[in-house]
Symmetry: C2
Subunit: 315 residues, 2 copies
DNA sequence: TTAATTTATTTGACGCAGTCCAATAAATAT
DNA sequence: ATATTTATTGGACTGCGTCAAATAAATTAA
């Protein structure tokens, strides 16, 4: 079921963009071509060796119409066609140098026009815009959207802690019903970590995809020869990709190199996915206590990893 | 100057939505009307008493073309027109009951179609979608976007602190070059506040517009008869609307009712806008000390307000 | 293998959406 | 009072895009 306001917002947006494309189509980029013709030329310039059928499927045109346009292009010398050797009904289209010239011109004007449109949009506005456009495409048609970018790991930047706190608090509230005391705890841990940060002995990683933060973990000095793994979090969108394990292994590696002998962490039994990762990476449960600090009753657990042992088994 | 990738992303989105509107236009909603005719009927149903000129300006159509369509609608009995008494060249258009019926049908089908499109989009996806659509409209054409919704103030909800920390840390890093120690401080304050929250004596307000958080302030128990105002923050988009003052006044009112005799706060001289608000609402600077806790040197300032006095002057 | 069906493309025929120009009439400026 | 601008309309026409039918190759069924 979809909320009526959602639908009305979408209708309004459709009207808005219909207008936008309408003015775009009118005397298309000051060339003698139609918007449709432009699209076809674009597709042929962007890919190589398209077949007419493919083109048709992707653009959803009438085959007769497409055929006519292709004929026109062929006569104008923009494209060449040769029958597909594997299926002689079909033909492979190729753009000629002359056609590519037009393609470039069209592209240039299109870019120019967009740059004009953006003249009054500041940098954050532009960022918001492309973000929003990506979001719409990804939501409405996951297949055409840009393929999932690789996840990268980078060090802390300002704002990351706030993100982490919000993401973790809302996710665990939604998923496990944890209350605001959990957000408070995360905030305090994150705050203390940054306030007392020791770059030699501590580290924070933020996993990012497409400029969007999707995961985190940090290693804090636990005193003595013990490091503490804290605030491991994965956005729902990247769960099940092995990213959690990669983050934890990152922590193990760093802790070992930093000279710690033990890596310890505190978690709760309800977070089964995380616990699974800890088990897999060699952590052992050392103690457990029942509590209801965050609303629902659960077992707080302390897990530890002997880094010397881990090093051996990894070798 | 606009980044090339930005432009390419926008071009890709335009192609994407051109397709979308293309399939929308094809046999428009299974009615004998064109998409353009549908738009015109929509505009006449949505507003009352439009003039043809207005319609024309808003939809960007050829006047002759519009005239023809209106004639058709008039003959079909969908609309009536009377000359505008104030300008007899112009005519005022009004939709008839019969026309409204068609209008409703079209709306119904349009809604139905969108609901179908959304069948495979989950709730967060839908939220992301409408957010993105609003963002695009607001960015590309601030005037047509929904008028700025009223700002509402509501109590704390889970995730608010994380938001506040990120927003404040990134904004002040950008604007004043404050470093990560500032984010750490904000996180610790926010964390402690929630951890020790006393609903009788403490309060947190989040200012929200259109479901988007745009401001915050909180009152914490400072011990004895002193309340502390903390973490006043306004998103750049709502600065200069008097919202900051409203938030501070909210705090003063609450502190007074809660029985405090003094409201105190700590801030920094570089935050001139905030300081201006404190002055206006009656706070007095009581002490000042130079520090570089957050990178750049500045003056930390303690301001205080005598609540008894404030009450008198307000009365 | 042949016959029947499906698929890729093309052509003929054509409607009608949308454009351009000029005309009319009222309003506004000079 | 005259000239210019603005709102609307009709005539005339272009060509976008559609529908149906034809052709030829590929695929499936018999």
């Amino acid at each position: 079921m979809t909320a009526p306001e959602t639908i009305e917002t979408i209708r309004a947006f459709n009207r808005f963009y219909t207008n936008k494309i309408g003015v775009l189509a009118r005397d298309y980029l000051a060339t003698p071509y139609t918007l449709t013709e432009g699209r076809i030329l674009y597709e042929m310039g962007a890919r190589e060796r398209v077949s007419a059928t493919e083109l048709n499927r992707d653009l959803g045109l009438d085959p007769a119409y497409l055929s006519r346009i292709l004929k026109k292009f062929r006569e104008a010398g923009f494209i060449e066609s040769e029958p597909d050797p594997s299926d002689k009904r079909s033909q492979i289209l190729n753009i000629t140098d002359k056609g590519r010239e037009i393609y470039e011109t069209l592209g240039e004007r299109s870019r120019q026009q967009i740059a004009d449109d953006l003249r009054n949009v500041d940098e954050t506005g532009q960022a918001r815009l492309i973000d929003a456009m990506q979001a719409i495409r990804a939501t409405l048609d996951p297949s055409t959207a840009t393929p999932p970018a690789p996840v990268i790991m980078r060090p802390y930047r300002i704002g990351d802690m706030g993100w982490l706190i919000e993401a973790q608090a809302t996710a665990y509230a939604r998923e496990y019903g944890l209350n605001e005391k959990f957000e408070a705890l995360v905030a305090e841990i994150a705050g203390k970590f940054i306030a007392n940060f020791n770059p030699e002995r501590e580290r924070c990683w933020i996993a990012e995809r497409d400029g969007r933060r999707v995961g985190s973990v940090l290693v804090a000095d636990g005193g003595g020869d013990t490091a503490k793994l804290r605030l491991l979090y994965l956005d729902p969108s990247v769960r099940g990709l092995g990213l959690g394990r990669a983050l934890v292994e990152q922590c193990i590696k760093f802790s070992t190199l930093a000279g710690y002998r033990k890596l310890s962490l505190w978690t709760n039994d309800i977070l089964t996915a995380a616990i699974h990762i800890y088990e897999k990476t060699g952590f052992k449960l050392v103690s457990e206590e029942r509590h209801a600090m965050f609303g629902p009753e659960c077992n707080g657990q302390t897990w530890e990893l002997d880094l010397a042992e881990a090093k051996l088994s990894a070798a």
